[in-house]
């Protein structure tokens, strides 16, 4: 099927998504760890527009942007669907994945969890709205994909793991079990799945890293 390479960063939720998808499909790949402070020539050549991870290279052809990569992986390797087959269900999954992506942009996370004042309150409120909507959306389901991990679950690993660890790193909580019991149950369920738990960074290492990058701008 051609050689597969993934350019990623160990702490990035975006590059982990790509690895989860490839492992779900049983695809062998070479992983290249990027130093984001000193990006490789190859990465800059493969993703000149955004200069970011993840990048998937398949048979020499590069694809960037994690959600675009997920759809590509789903279309090339046909076993075990990531997106549903029904067009309406696919539209539904794409809607939620894009919504999560929009709400959890880097700057909003920083504002919500680290900064102070009006900007912080506004960002925190937007994230709360996301969690409220996800709490409603997960009702009656084990996972967003139903019984199996799907497109939204993979996208939402940022909520399941990164958000709780960001909260631990900075000492501020927005996602709590009291307020969002169903969403937290979903996170527990997701993090137990083999393909997820074997593809996540070490928690302690990630907390230390998050503490470092989130707090440094505000010193």
């Amino acid at each position: 099927m051609g050689k597969v390479k993934v350019f990623g960063f160990w702490a990035s939720p975006y590059s982990r998504r790509v690895e989860i998808a490839l492992q779900m499909k049983g695809v062998e790949y070479e992983y290249v760890e990027e130093d984001l402070q000193n990006k490789s020539e190859l990465l800059l050549e493969y993703n000149p527009i955004h200069k970011q991870v993840p990048v998937l290279v398949h048979d020499g052809k590069a694809i960037a942007e994690s959600l675009v990569i997920l759809e590509y992986i789903d279309e090339v390797w046909k076993c075990c669907h990531i997106l549903p087959t029904d067009p309406y269900e696919r539209a539904h999954a794409r809607f939620w994945a894009n919504f999560i992506e929009d709400k959890l942009m880097h700057h909003r996370i920083k504002h919500a969890f680290v900064s102070k004042g009006e900007e912080s309150e506004k960002a925190a409120k937007e994230i709360e709205e996301l969690f409220e909507l996800l709490e409603d959306e997960i009702k009656g389901k084990k996972l967003f994909g139903g019984n199996d991990i799907g497109f939204v679950d993979i996208t939402a690993t940022i909520v399941a793991l990164w958000i709780p660890l960001i909260q631990e790193a900075v000492g501020k909580t927005i996602l709590t079990r009291e307020k969002y019991p169903l969403l937290c149950n979903w996170a527990d369920e997701l993090l137990q799945c083999n393909v997820i738990k074997h593809n996540l960074p070490d928690n302690d290492k990630l907390v230390a890293f998050l503490r470092h990058i989130l707090c440094q701008t505000y010193e």
Binding site: I49, H58, K61, I63, A64, E65, L67, V68, I69, E71, Y72, E75, V76, P87, Y88, R90, A91, R94, F95, N98, F99, L133
Partner: protein, 229 residues
């Protein structure tokens, strides 16, 4: 008999235009419901409770929101007419990549130009917009492979994603007395823009520049009034 497909939209919206072009390409008959947005209708609020925005596509009363998601839905749900996304997964990924770039980076920069607080900020914004157009000129080269559209012989996903912004690009060019998509700097895009706008699947939905400019002026006045309070 009620039509099985409905589109909630408004004539100036590039996002609504995307849905209409897609339905035209697939030869799908639909009812267009013009939303005044002031106030937003019950149907809109019920169909898109999360964003409360247009366009919304209703297929057998089931709502689909977000313009690019609607375009992909139309491509997948209807087998009539021509395909919107290419069949090759890599080509599909490239078109999705550029459509995401347009919506996440390029259009916000473009909107930023009209909202710029001073001339310096405006100039900086325009520079970003032009850089983006230069990237899109290259992308056109690679995607079209010598053919008339990003999608090849026929209009496709990326043509729709980008082309829907052309009305607003023309308004910006007129209001600021500048060229954005120019014959000398972005010749391929310039030619493509004309072909796209004249296409049967597009021309009925592309708003007239003068009419859109009037709408833009009204929006800017509202924005400035809100910003100064």
């Amino acid at each position: 008999m009620a039509k099985e497909v409905k589109v909630l939209g408004k004539w100036p919206s590039p996002f609504v235009m995307r849905a209409r072009i897609a339905l035209h390409l697939k030869s799908v008959d639909y009812e267009f419901i013009e939303e005044s947005m002031q106030p937003k209708s019950e149907l809109l609020l019920k169909s898109n409770p999360v964003h409360k925005k247009i366009p919304v596509l209703l297929h057998h009363e089931k709502p689909i929101c977000e313009s690019l998601i609607i375009v992909q839905y139309v491509d997948e749900a209807f087998s009539t007419g021509s395909s919107i996304l290419p069949s090759n997964p890599y080509d599909r990924a490239i078109q999705r990549f550029w459509a995401a770039y347009l919506d996440d980076k390029w259009f916000p920069a473009f909107q930023g130009v009209s909202r710029a607080p001073n001339e310096e900020a405006k100039a900086k914004g325009l520079e970003q917009v032009r850089e983006g157009l230069s990237l899109l000129e290259d992308a056109f080269d690679k995607c079209s492979n010598g053919k008339p559209f990003f999608g090849g012989d026929k209009i496709g996903y990326l043509d729709i994603a980008f082309g829907s912004y052309l009305g607003w690009v023309r308004v910006s060019e007129k209001m600021n007395n500048i060229e954005l998509i120019s014959k000398d700097k972005t010749p391929k895009l310039h030619a493509w823009a004309e072909r796209f706008s004249a296409n049967d699947a597009v021309k009925d939905y592309m708003p007239e520049t003068e009419k859109l400019m009037g709408f833009a002026k009204m929006l800017m006045a509202k924005y400035q009034a809100a910003a100064s309070t």
